[in-house]
Symmetry: C2
Subunit: 375 residues, 2 copies
Amino acid sequence: MSPAETVHVPLDGGRAYDILVGRGLLAGIGPRVAELGARAVAVVSDTTVAGLYGEAVLGSLREAGLRAGLVTVAPGEGSKSYATLAAVCDGLLAERIERRDLVLALGGGVVGDLAGFAAAILRRGVRFVQAPTSLLAQVDSSVGGKTGINSPHGKNLVGAFHQPVLVLADTATLDSLTPREMRAGYAEVAKYGLIDDPAFFAWCEARFGEIFAGGPARETAVAACCRAKAGVVVRDEREDGERALLNLGHTFAHALERLTNYDSARLVHGEAVAIGLALAFRFSARLGLCPGQEAGRVANHLALAGLPTTLRAVPGGCGDADSLLDAMRQDKKVRDGALTFILARGIGRSFIAPGIDPGEVRAFLADELERDPRS
Amino acid sequence: MSPAETVHVPLDGGRAYDILVGRGLLAGIGPRVAELGARAVAVVSDTTVAGLYGEAVLGSLREAGLRAGLVTVAPGEGSKSYATLAAVCDGLLAERIERRDLVLALGGGVVGDLAGFAAAILRRGVRFVQAPTSLLAQVDSSVGGKTGINSPHGKNLVGAFHQPVLVLADTATLDSLTPREMRAGYAEVAKYGLIDDPAFFAWCEARFGEIFAGGPARETAVAACCRAKAGVVVRDEREDGERALLNLGHTFAHALERLTNYDSARLVHGEAVAIGLALAFRFSARLGLCPGQEAGRVANHLALAGLPTTLRAVPGGCGDADSLLDAMRQDKKVRDGALTFILARGIGRSFIAPGIDPGEVRAFLADELERDPRS
Ligand SMILES: NC(=O)c1ccc[n+]([C@@H]2O[C@H](COP(=O)([O-])OP(=O)(O)OC[C@H]3O[C@@H](n4cnc5c(N)ncnc54)[C@H](O)[C@@H]3O)[C@@H](O)[C@H]2O)c1
Ligand SMILES: NC(=O)c1ccc[n+]([C@@H]2O[C@H](COP(=O)([O-])OP(=O)(O)OC[C@H]3O[C@@H](n4cnc5c(N)ncnc54)[C@H](O)[C@@H]3O)[C@@H](O)[C@H]2O)c1
Ligand SMILES: [Zn+2]
Ligand SMILES: [Zn+2]
């Protein structure tokens, strides 16, 4: 099956690679991986995704003449740990993966981050392929080469930049995703429009139903997001500048995730991002940077997609303004007490705003905590 | 104090750095590190080395205006483990090391490999400085950017290429090294002459007493080794070719370490290397590649330095020819059953020899096992 869309990522130093986006691609993964010239492939997956797609992928790889084995981890963020990393590395070694062989990450962002990191450090670096199966992974985490695990000191604090040699996003796999995970991933889709592509945001407003339902707009949206993220990454691989825009909504989101103890029963990342996006626009409006009706349009659309957009929508609450501010200060983007936000002059007009006065943020959060959770 | 010798390592991509070699350099480490523009430094060391030099280093760093903390691990190869890596990463995070800050490895090769790897993956990469305190670390492990830990599946199987921003080799620290560790490091010194520098080997034969005693030849030797290794690394950073020559003697050595269960009471790496070097030359002579008297001269010199040069010198023995051959097959440089050795046409005339017949090796080893341990 030929992919509906191909996004080329022109990284330097022989690291250029393709992102293939299409329905049913997993069935033909074997020949595509065989082309990369490995002898053996270790598929890393979580038990949920392995149960759904593991056999098909292993079968396709073996049919293409590759030695293929499976290394599984428990589903969920808890697997981005030192202990699971060690287990994955040892699992890859038990599968006799050598320098020229391949690691294939089959799953959501957790599996991609974990398997990508294991590939980065196994024998000081083996190649890896991403086969993202969650919407979040297809539009965000599988692109850009950031890999890693969490430390007790915080999320993603240990890891490597390691680019995949191929990304294969089979959009049919999203059919088995829970509606909640689908919505969460959709927050990141909308984010790309909000960052710098007002036309894409308008298109999302018109077509998001089709993305959820599985029509051709799904491939278009996934490819558009990959193209947007790949563009940023090629221009700023190590996040010295522009790449920070991808964190639109994320300073708020990370604080909310921290204050809900990363308990996905209460809040998953994409939900936190949806609230964060709405907050970033309302904060921009409050600072007089962005028209109020643009902020309203952002929140409206996210709410239509079933996403939360207010602090009071956080199940179990998220603490007071001071706890929120404190949690924000612990975010990686906070330096020497000064707060850096990604703000916006309107939909598709985001920018990096360093040196934001913490007092302003505090007052804004206090007001937000009074806001009706449904508005 | 100005260094006796400076070796510049001209790596590309803004990664060039200097190796400073001199007696007493640690006393002035603060200003040199401060020049690198960090705000905070975490010193990683083992408890032995920290006990000897930790206070002096921390004091010098703090006097230079840097925030400095100490993270220690137990001495010995056992610290190159997943668990200790996690502890070091968390220790660095507890010391609030950020992207622009520095990790300083103060110790032997174990600390350098471990701390360098932790620096490579902390926040996806922070800069690190090597302050090697063993002879092996000064002439070998601190140069070249290979970092890593061991897996239950084998040595150095998990790691990263991560170049230091500065190497500071204080040759006075070698005065507190045990004679055995000093001799072990010396095996690697002699190796550089054997690889491609017959004049350096001859110089070693004449001056090795001064290297051990701490005269000016010590700095000359350390700098010469760093220059040799840096040259190879710059030409072949990822060991696609020439860098393999640095493994002269090491296929044998790794097999011996494996067969003595990495028990340093029986054999330390440098002792295994000494035996490996002698074997590589005798095997070359047996294959008619190298004059027998050159092989004799190699073994003689190593023996004069107090190093073992025969299989029967391994305390507790090392198994029979088949176990040795088996252990060699497990070495990283063995691919698809064919054996690759580094052999020599004479002192300073080593070369990569792929496709060596395992039968030849077996017969050679069987004869070696009959050899008098003192010849
Ligand atoms: N590397 C990056 O640049 C980057 C960017 C954003 C997020 N992330 C990381 O991504 C992670 C979140 O990713 P995620 O939301 O995909 O989480 P996830 O990998 O935990 O997947 C969410 C859940 O969906 C299940 N699942 C995945 N695909 C499925 C499918 N096709 N059918 C049925 N169930 C499926 C998983 O088993 C899991 O239970 C976080 O750890 C985050 O830090 C990384
Ligand atoms: N990265 C590389 O390129 C590379 C190359 C060769 C070896 N290595 C690694 O290096 C390690 C061996 O290094 P090593 O021999 O330095 O071992 P080490 O770090 O264990 O040091 C040997 C012993 O000497 C002690 N010590 C170190 N400096 C001292 C000093 N100045 N005074 C008193 N005691 C001191 C240590 O506490 C330790 O007990 C191995 O793990 C090996 O894999 C790495
Ligand atoms: Zn996100
Ligand atoms: Zn060695």
